[in-house]
Amino acid sequence: MMIELDHATKYYGALAAVEDVSFSVRPGEYFALLGPNGAGKTTIVRMLLDFTRPTSGTLSIGGLPSTQAEARSGVGYLAENFRIPPFLSGWHYLERSADLLNLGRTDTTDQCRRMVELIGMQGREHSLAGTYSKGMLQRLALGGALLGRPRLLILDEPTSGLDPIGIREVRELLERLKQDGMTILLNSHLLSEVEKLCDTAAIINHGRLIVKDAISAIAGHGDTLEDVFVRLVRG
């Protein structure tokens, strides 16, 4: 399994952010994590990346416990509120990210150049990040996550701040990556996009896993994913 959560629980004081959640994601699967704000989706992502430790239960990536740094090799991550230092240019950010992945000088330059083209930032890559729009920052974040050709991509609201054209571009890019066998864990509120892109979804509410199944099974019988989501979350 690419990702495995086994009874993962996270408490902040008395508040249960995630409670007894278990699921797994197969290699090459496009997996959506759905839920209303504050449901615990981002906490699951943060536990996977070892940004916060679970109160109980275990999480693993590629068979390695998420607490080991090696588990994060081959993992690309796009943060929900992506920020970069305003004194860095997009190019420097990509270069730094590639350097931290030990890509080597030639590979770093090649991949950064390719990524600038892929995210459509040609001509602006050397401007300071402080001058970028939210959409440009989001595309830069995606570029940074794709460096090093990761086997697993963890995307926390990747289309946040993008216009409809930008959203479609991201979806088309993710569709292309699917053909390369990449695994994706996607946190998103855009249920229509999730429905078009993902194979499987898990719906979380109040930290608990309500349902985990193939999208076709969840949203069958003439209902859209949105209809089912609203019904399940409202109880």
């Binding site: 916060t52 740094a69 588990a71 994060r72 991550y77 943060a79």
Partner: protein, 282 residues
Amino acid sequence: MSGMQAVPPILKICRYTIIDHVRQKSFIVMLLIGAAFVFFTRSCYHGNYMVNGQMLGAWTVAESIAKMSFHTIAFTMMFLAALLAVRAFSRDRDYGMQACILSKPITRGQYVTGKVLGLWALAFFCMFILHAMVFLIMALQAKVFMPAFLAASLLCSLNVLVVVMGALVLSLSMSDFVAFMAVMAITVISFVADGIHTLHQSQMLQAIIQPHGTGPQSDVTWRTVIYYLWPKISELEITAASLIDHGWLRGWGALYPLANILAYCLIAAALLLWRFRREEIL
């Protein structure tokens, strides 16, 4: 890796820490002010100084001015190091760099070690440059060569290290401003305590404050224990400055501040690693 040995992540984080701080205008301004201060002291080496009607020799004048400059630079650099260190983690967090770095196969220990080394190297480099300027001005203006001056600067770098680690540890548990004030308070108390201790040791003062016929008090009090266990930042600086006078450390007593600061460095490193391992990455 195209045949090249990969640079360890610690060194990469160290390099980026240095680059990011050097980019700051405030840092450059502070360094330039320091350099200007040293530059303006050059005229002091030419003056004719008389004490009790006796003209002081060039060596004595150079030594006195050099030692004053040495202490001023060393203390200012501790101040600067604390200022840089207290903001180091929060800056990385605010700019999203902590999440960027730690989402890669880099351990928290490597990140923290890289940060400490970067801040230490930067502050020490600045201190060494300013000390080297004093050394060169002495050599060129007063024709006085004091190689031990640079060795003293190296020894003082341990003070910078303990301040950096102390500031980093405290910044994880309190606001940056409070952490800065706490580190500076520890440093200032070290200087004040050493000053009081030196006064107490002086025979003249003892003769004044002690009743006639009673010997010096030798009881070990809690104040004495605290005094000896307190970070010996001031004493290490004085020990380093004594290198300028003698060119070597005098006696085993001179090793105590060194051992004390090294012990504090180890304690701060252990606390820093333990505390950062529990830190929530945002």
